[in-house]
Structures are given as structure tokens and as C-alpha cells.
């Protein structure tokens, strides 16, 4: 699997570099802000910033026919899929690390953030990122990557839709429909993680049935 991971990251290197520059820039923003209102959004964006590039990377795999070539390598199909999901996880963790850097600068800048808002920001960022890849990858595997932008948008909207539904369902507990309630953020993150695990098995199934001509 290590070789496949290496390949995935080499293929995404230029996009990751760009995301790092953007996330690094966003981390510095708290130092020049006069109030903390924008910080939760910055944290969520940073978490999401790295996985959003995976659609383009999957398209490169398809156009270069790498996805056909890798079937000739001494690896099982489920290992190929496993390497993709590990790569997605590492990208999300990279986003989380960048958001932690932002929190460090928030501390340096002297802002006091409400912990509930921080939990919500992480919940939103993680839900969006995890749901995006969980939906995007099996869909692209099934229908191809030609419409990758559309699939990314659809997956992003589905993630927000899931949070809205959860906020509505949790309304009796959270005192009305509150999307920014920490409980909504935490439960939606857990739901997204479950979706991620299901997505892996669905992708393995699709890949086993898929023909690479």
C-alpha cells in the first residue's frame, strides 16, 4: 500500500502545495483581524481545503489510464481502494493540523473563542470533508470522472443537507433548530465517519465489478 500512497501524494503534490499556501495564509488571518467572528469559518475551510482537490486527482488517474495499469500490479483491488481512503484521511488530517495552527495564532492574537463555536467549526469542517469524499469517490468510480466538478458540488450540498436534517431531528434536544449547536457538529461528524466506512465497502464492490478497457 505504501507505493500506492506515495503515488497518490505525488499525483496531488502541486494541489497540496497550493492548498498549503492558502491554508497557511488563512492561519495568519487571526493576527490581523479585529474581531473573532470569521475564525470559525476559517477553521472549517482549512479542514476542507485539502480534500477538495481529490476530484481532479481522480480524473488524472482515469485520463492517464493509471487506474487500468495499477490492476496489473501485484496488489489486490481492495488495497487500491484502501490506499485511496487512507490518502483521503491523511488529507483531512493535514487540514485539521493547519486549523490547529490557526488556533495557535488565535491564542497569540489574544482572542477568546467560545469552545462551543470551536467544536461546531470542527464538526462542520469534518462533516463537509468526510461526506464529500465518501460520496464523491464511489460516484466517480461508477460514472467516471468527466463530471467531477458536478459530483464535488453535489457531495458538498449533500453534506450540508445532512447537517440540516440532523439539526432538525435534534431540535427537541438543542432547543430549536440550531445548526451551530456543538451536538449537531459532533453527531454529524460521527455520521460522516460511518458514511466514510460504508463508502469504502461500496467502492470496493464497485471497483470489483468495474471493467477497465
Amino acid at each position: 500500500m505504501r507505493g500506492l500512497l506515495r503515488n497518490n501524494f505525488y499525483s496531488m503534490a502541486s494541489n497540496i502545495r497550493l492548498s498549503l499556501i492558502m491554508a497557511g495564509f488563512l492561519s495568519l488571518v487571526p493576527l490581523v483581524l479585529k474581531e473573532s467572528a470569521a475564525i470559525p469559518m476559517i477553521l472549517s475551510i482549512q479542514i476542507f481545503l485539502f480534500v477538495v482537490n481529490t476530484g481532479a486527482s481522480l480524473r488524472v488517474d482515469e485520463t492517464s489510464k493509471w487506474n487500468k495499469f495499477e490492476l496489473t500490479l501485484p496488489i489486490r483491488r481492495r488495497t487500491i481502494i484502501g490506499a485511496k481512503y487512507v490518502s483521503f484521511t491523511l488529507l483531512i488530517l493535514l487540514g485539521v493540523m493547519m486549523s490547529l495552527l490557526t488556533l495557535g495564532f488565535v491564542y497569540v492574537a489574544g482572542f477568546e473563542l467560545d469552545p462551543k463555536i470551536v467544536i461546531y467549526s470542527y464538526g462542520f469542517g469534518l462533516t463537509l470533508s468526510i461526506t464529500l469524499v465518501s460520496l464523491m469517490y464511489p460516484i466517480m468510480l461508477k460514472i467516471g470522472t468527466e463530471k467531477n466538478e458536478l459530483v464535488v458540488f453535489f457531495s458538498g450540498f449533500a453534506a450540508i443537507g445532512m447537517m440540516l436534517v440532523l439539526a432538525a431531528l435534534l431540535a427537541p434536544v438543542t432547543g430549536g433548530m440550531q445548526l451551530r449547536h456543538p451536538l449537531v457538529g459532533m453527531i454529524s461528524s460521527c455520521m460522516a465517519t460511518i458514511l466514510f466506512v460504508i463508502s469504502y465497502f461500496v467502492s470496493v464492490h464497485i471497483h470489483r465489478k468495474k471493467e477497465f478497457k
Binding site: K65, P74, E211, F212, K213
Partner: protein, 287 residues
């Protein structure tokens, strides 16, 4: 005789297409190069894809080194090198990065051999695949296929679109590869002159069916093309030719034993034949 690849009664159909492989059977003897010849759409790439399990097959058996290659037994793929008629590798990778990737994938990746091969083939190590010419990309793919201890190379149109100089370099490499008689190559190509230079056996495929498998030397030295007029053609028995076609006033017959045919029909001109002409007569001619 030991075979490194045996394809038995392979049948494959594509959904939404009339094309299918029909009972394809052939074997590649160990230590040999087999040329796989056919017109566009004859089924060469489909056969390769079936051998490599990148598409499903409806029936038949494929054995590589005596074993069926399934997804659950990927180790056998350590012994196979593959070059497709495509880019093969992600565009953002360089030869050096590819080496790092394959070092972690193949059990017996030989980095020194890979570096020697790309130096010999003059493939730049630090230029991205997407910036390489087609010739360079194919050379790179060949270097990868030969650098992990593969005993069988599957080359699907690996030399097509390359200039004669590059093709010559590649053919030399392939000949060196089979020198020890343990390594084998199955190579599809439109360029039959390449196969005439290096192949030991030629298999012809047409409309998804194998129409002939024969030793190359037999094809070139025993087979022939007999040219005659219509009235001479009338006296030739159907069993004496494999295929024929009319060209103007002349009739051309593909014959499998020109010496025997010449003895019987002294008045008919018999010429040596090329792989191209055999393919044309088998594909375009009547039986």
C-alpha cells in the same frame, strides 16, 4: 514444451456491443516471443485486458506460469511486465518518482537496472510524464516493465507510433530480454515488420477469433503466395490453399507449403510472403 501463458477457450462479450472474443485459445512457449497480429478492432486489446483481469471474461481459462491469475492471488503479477498503448502513468510523476513508487510495490524492484535502462534509452529522469513525448513515455513504460524481475512481458502496441530508430532500440531490448530462454513476450503490433524481426511465433486474430498460430519461420519460409489466372485457379483443389483473393485479372492464394505446391503446379508462380500479406489474405480473402 513449457508454456508461460496459456489462453484456453476465452470468450468475452461487451455489453452494448456486437464485438466479442470467441473461443480464443493460444499458448506462449517459455523463452519465446509471440507476435499477436490483427486489424483494428480484431480483439487484441480485449485479449490483453482479459489476460490481465482488467475486464471480466464470460468463459475460458487463462493460466500464467501454470496458475490462474485472480484478484486474490496478486503475487503472480510480480512476474509480469505490462506496457499498454497509452500513457500508463500519472502525468505529474517523473521517472525517479515512479521508481520510488514501484520500489514499494514490486517485491524485486531493481533500481540499478531501472536507472541503467532509462540512461540507455535516454529517458530524462526528472521530467514529468505529461511533458515526455510518446516515444519517451513508451520507453519509460518498457523500462518499468523490465525492472522488477518479470518473466513475461505483455506489450500491447508498445512500438506503434514510434519512429524507426526508437523502435529498433526497443526491439533490441526485447531480444536481450528473451536471451536466457526463461523470459517470454506476448506482443501485439500493427507493425508486422517488427514482428518479422523478433518474433518466434505469430498468432493472427480476426473478428475476435484466432485464425492462425504458427512459427514465424514456417510462415516466412514454408508459406507462400501463389499468383495465377482464373482458369489455372479452377484446377487447384480447395484443400491446397488457406485463402484466396482476386486482384484484377490475377488470383492470389495463400498456401501453407510452397515446395509441395510448386511440385504439383509448375506453371503457377509462387512468391515468398510477408506477415502483412498473410494477414491481408486471411482477413480480406475468401476460403
Amino acid at each position: 514444451m513449457n508454456y508461460c501463458l496459456e489462453v484456453k477457450n476465452l470468450s468475452t462479450a461487451y455489453a452494448g456491443s456486437h464485438f466479442h472474443l470467441d473461443n480464443v485459445s493460444f499458448s506462449v512457449p517459455q523463452g519465446s516471443i509471440m507476435g499477436f497480429v490483427g486489424e483494428n478492432g480484431a480483439g487484441k486489446t480485449t485479449t490483453f485486458s482479459s489476460i490481465l483481469n482488467t475486464i471480466r471474461r464470460d468463459s475460458g481459462k487463462i493460466e500464467i506460469f501454470g496458475e490462474e491469475m485472480t484478484d486474490e492471488q496478486p503475487d503472480i503479477r510480480n512476474h509480469i511486465g505490462v506496457v499498454f498503448d497509452a500513457i500508463n502513468f500519472p502525468g505529474d510523476l517523473t521517472a525517479d518518482k515512479l521508481a520510488a513508487v514501484f520500489k514499494d510495490i514490486y517485491q524485486k524492484w531493481d533500481d540499478d537496472l531501472f536507472q541503467n535502462l532509462i540512461r540507455r534509452l535516454q529517458v530524462p529522469a526528472h521530467i514529468k510524464v505529461k511533458d515526455l513525448s510518446r516515444g519517451m513515455t513508451m520507453k519509460l513504460a518498457t523500462a518499468v516493465a523490465m525492472s522488477h524481475g518479470a518473466k513475461l512481458l505483455l506489450l500491447d502496441e508498445a512500438t506503434s507510433g514510434l519512429d524507426p530508430v526508437v523502435r529498433e532500440e526497443m526491439l533490441d531490448l526485447f531480444l536481450e530480454f528473451v536471451e536466457d530462454e526463461e523470459h517470454s513476450i506476448l506482443m501485439s503490433s500493427h507493425i508486422t515488420s517488427d514482428l518479422e524481426k523478433i518474433a518466434d511465433y505469430i498468432t493472427f486474430i480476426h473478428n475476435g477469433r484466432i485464425i492462425l498460430t504458427e512459427k514465424k519461420d514456417t510462415l516466412l519460409y514454408k508459406y507462400g503466395i501463389a499468383r495465377c489466372k482464373s482458369e489455372q485457379f479452377q484446377i487447384v483443389d480447395k484443400l491446397e490453399y488457406l485463402a484466396y483473393r482476386k486482384r484484377g485479372l490475377q488470383i492470389e492464394m495463400l498456401i501453407s507449403d510452397k515446395a509441395k505446391f510448386a511440385k504439383k503446379h509448375r506453371e503457377i508462380i509462387i512468391d515468398d510472403i510477408t506477415i502483412d500479406e498473410i494477414m491481408l489474405l486471411l482477413v480480406k480473402g475468401d476460403q
